[in-house]
């Protein structure tokens, strides 16, 4: 089996923060250290004329084309600049649950939702649509130094708050950030802990009717999303170092090092099922059929019965107390 991350391991690391450098980067995306150029050293002073590859005339930089342009033949030369591509997944986690098992998992889940759901929910629900979906997201590993400040009730005097500060190391491994448009953050959070990242392969396997989501944002926006996720992790980590039982105004600054981001496609089934004419949505994990969640109808009759029964019981107790107190 080929190592899906072999190419990534071959990427150069930033000389200052150790984060991997993408091929298109002019500067490290984490600490902004410029990536060294591979140009050959100039040995002596010379005056050069830069010529058009097409017609041999002297080239000049053209402000309208924002590139060197030949005034004679109009050809435009390419200049190396920081590119901002739309990312694609580097690794796909395979489906380990087939569609039949996904349907069965849905039935099992519907039957396990408790007494307040319709008694015939599992038997009467029919699957209207089942879409295998590879949704996309990033995982990141980072080692960071987190500086924090906050107010807490520890050491408070006249005011209810006292200021505190600290600096702590943070290590995060395989934190998942969703890039999915189809799944909500809550749904992704429920799915995340059931994936086996070690099963990743570089190409999606054949899966009939499977949809593959794309990363809809350019890489620069993706990096801002990751930065926000790192900051959120840092704040969460810092919370445990704030003394006292209450806190407010927690602020964190992060110095990330060796920030490594990976782009994954995660397998899940998005199902639409019909029960008594209404459609409901459910998600079945693509690798673990025990992870199922979604919307399901309530049994209004059962809820009314419980409410009325409780009201009747309360009324009876009230009547008994009243009768005994006379």
């Amino acid at each position: 089996m080929t190592d899906v991350w072999e190419e990534e391991r071959g990427k150069p690391g930033c000389g200052r923060c150790g984060s991997p450098i993408e091929q298109e980067d002019l500067r490290c995306a984490v600490c902004f250290l410029p990536v060294p150029a591979n140009a050959a050293a100039v040995q002596k002073v010379v005056a050069r004329i830069l010529r058009c590859d097409g017609c041999g005339a002297a080239l000049t930089y053209d402000v309208d084309a924002k590139a060197p342009k030949c005034a004679f033949c109009g050809s435009v030369a390419h200049l190396e600049e920081s590119e901002d591509p739309i990312d694609a997944a580097d690794a796909y986690l395979p489906f380990r649950v087939d569609p039949a098992t996904a349907r069965e998992a849905l039935k099992t889940w519907l039957g396990s939702l408790g007494w307040f759901r319709p008694g015939d929910l599992a038997s009467e629900a029919t699957v209207a649509d089942l879409t295998p979906l590879w949704w996309v997201g990033w995982t990141f590993d980072v080692e960071a130094l987190v500086s924090w400040t906050a107010d807490s009730n520890a050491g408070a005097r006249r005011s209810a708050w006292a200021p505190h500060s600290g600096q702590v190391p943070l290590t995060v491994r395989q934190a998942l950030v969703s890039a999915s448009r189809g799944l909500t953050n809550d749904e992704v959070e429920k799915l995340a802990r059931h994936f086996d990242l070690g099963s990743a392969v570089s190409e999606p396997h054949a899966m009939q009717g499977a949809a593959i989501e794309r990363f809809d944002v350019p890489r620069s926006s993706a990096r801002r999303i990751i930065d926000r996720a790192v900051l959120a992790q840092a704040k969460q980590h810092a919370k445990q170092f704030v003394p006292g039982s209450r806190m407010r105004k927690l602020a964190a600054a992060v110095l990330p090092q060796r920030l490594r981001t990976r782009r994954y496609a995660f397998p899940s089934y998005v199902l639409a099922y019909r029960y008594r004419g209404d459609l409901y949505r459910a998600i079945v994990h693509g690798q673990d059929p025990s992870c199922v969640f979604g919307k399901a109808p309530w049994s209004v009759a059962k809820i009314l019965l419980v409410v009325l029964g409780s009201a009747a019981a309360l009324a009876l107790i009230g009547f008994l107390i009243f009768a005994l107190s006379r």
Binding site: R16, A37, V42, A47, I49, A58, T149
Partner: protein
């Protein structure tokens, strides 16, 4: 320095502080390639011109007309000369480790009893809630990356003038290629990196100070001080696009130099002052103040 034109073989004279020139005989644009030294590194990064000259002229003309306190001769001066120049700058980045101390204001409320006179003239005792501030000391450590600080490497364009036309949009930053300079004016760096590093550190320390202001807890803060150590410092020579426009308004006086950011169109310059206009404005302001005072006195009689 005298170099040979690669097009016609003639001798080309290029000033030592310039990186580009033009052959007098065949008109070919020349770009100088030279070995890099510690004091005079070669450019590694650049931002290309994005603002066309017509737009830069339009911005400059509007700015000249809007200089209200300048002499009329300046406001009516023709803005026609324009030259695109790549200015050598150093792009600074580092890790900033800071130690800070501040007084943090934590608000609390107290209920005060006070006496006052009610509408019937009787003395009554009442209570009110007042917010007070308790000041607490806070010390701490703060570590971040600082980047994108641009300091001039040109004796011709002082740092305060460069700052006035910043920021540059670093999303358009490119790897330096001599072809970017072809047909344009370009200076060699007048300063070595070691001469500019203090200036860059000063800018980075100011950025850290601003960030620390937003980092403080509490309801308010005062006496914020910090001392910052910079690790992993990096200075790279980057060529930045600037339109230079001399405005000639009086044959007796030197032209006023305007600088326009060749990427964003931000403009700076020091317009001459018309002391007559300034005096008239001060006298008018004094007259308005005197009028208001007189009216107030009249009303209070």
């Amino acid at each position: 320095m005298q170099l040979e034109c690669q097009s016609c073989g003639a001798r080309v004279e290029i000033e030592a502080d310039r990186r580009t020139g033009k052959c007098l005989y065949c008109g070919s644009p020349q770009v100088v390639d030279r070995p890099s030294t510690a004091d005079r590194p070669n450019p590694e990064l650049a931002i290309g011109f994005a603002l066309p000259p017509e737009k830069a002229l339009e911005v400059a003309r509007r700015w000249v007309k809007g200089a209200f306190f300048a002499p009329q001769s300046f406001r009516k001066a023709a803005v026609e000369e324009i030259r695109g120049l790549y200015v050598p700058t150093y792009l600074y980045s580092a890790i900033a480790h800071s130690q800070y101390s501040a007084q943090i204001g934590e608000n609390y409320t107290v209920t005060e009893t006070y006496t006052t006179t009610d509408s019937k003239g009787r003395t009554v005792t009442r209570t009110r809630t007042k917010t007070k501030t308790e000041w607490r000391s806070l010390q701490g450590l703060h570590s971040i990356y600082v980047s994108d600080h641009v300091v001039t490497a040109s004796r011709g364009i002082p740092n305060d003038e460069l700052e006035a036309i910043e920021p540059f949009d670093f999303r358009d930053l490119r790897r330096f290629d001599p072809i970017l300079l072809s047909g344009w004016g370009a200076e060699e760096p007048s300063y070595a990196p070691a001469q500019c590093v203090e200036l860059a550190r000063g800018e980075a320390a100011a950025q850290v100070g601003r960030m620390l202001g937003g980092f403080m807890p509490g309801d308010s803060h005062r006496s914020l001080q910090h001392s910052t150590r910079f690790d992993g410092e990096d200075l790279r020579l980057a060529m930045m696009p600037v339109w230079v426009l001399p405005v000639r308004y009086d044959p007796e006086k030197p032209p006023v130099r305007l600088l326009v950011n060749g990427q964003t169109g931000k403009i700076t310059g020091k317009p001459p002052k018309s002391w007559l206009k300034i005096t008239v404005a001060i006298l008018l302001a004094l007259a308005v103040v005197a009028g208001v005072v007189l009216l107030a006195l009249e009303a209070s009689r």
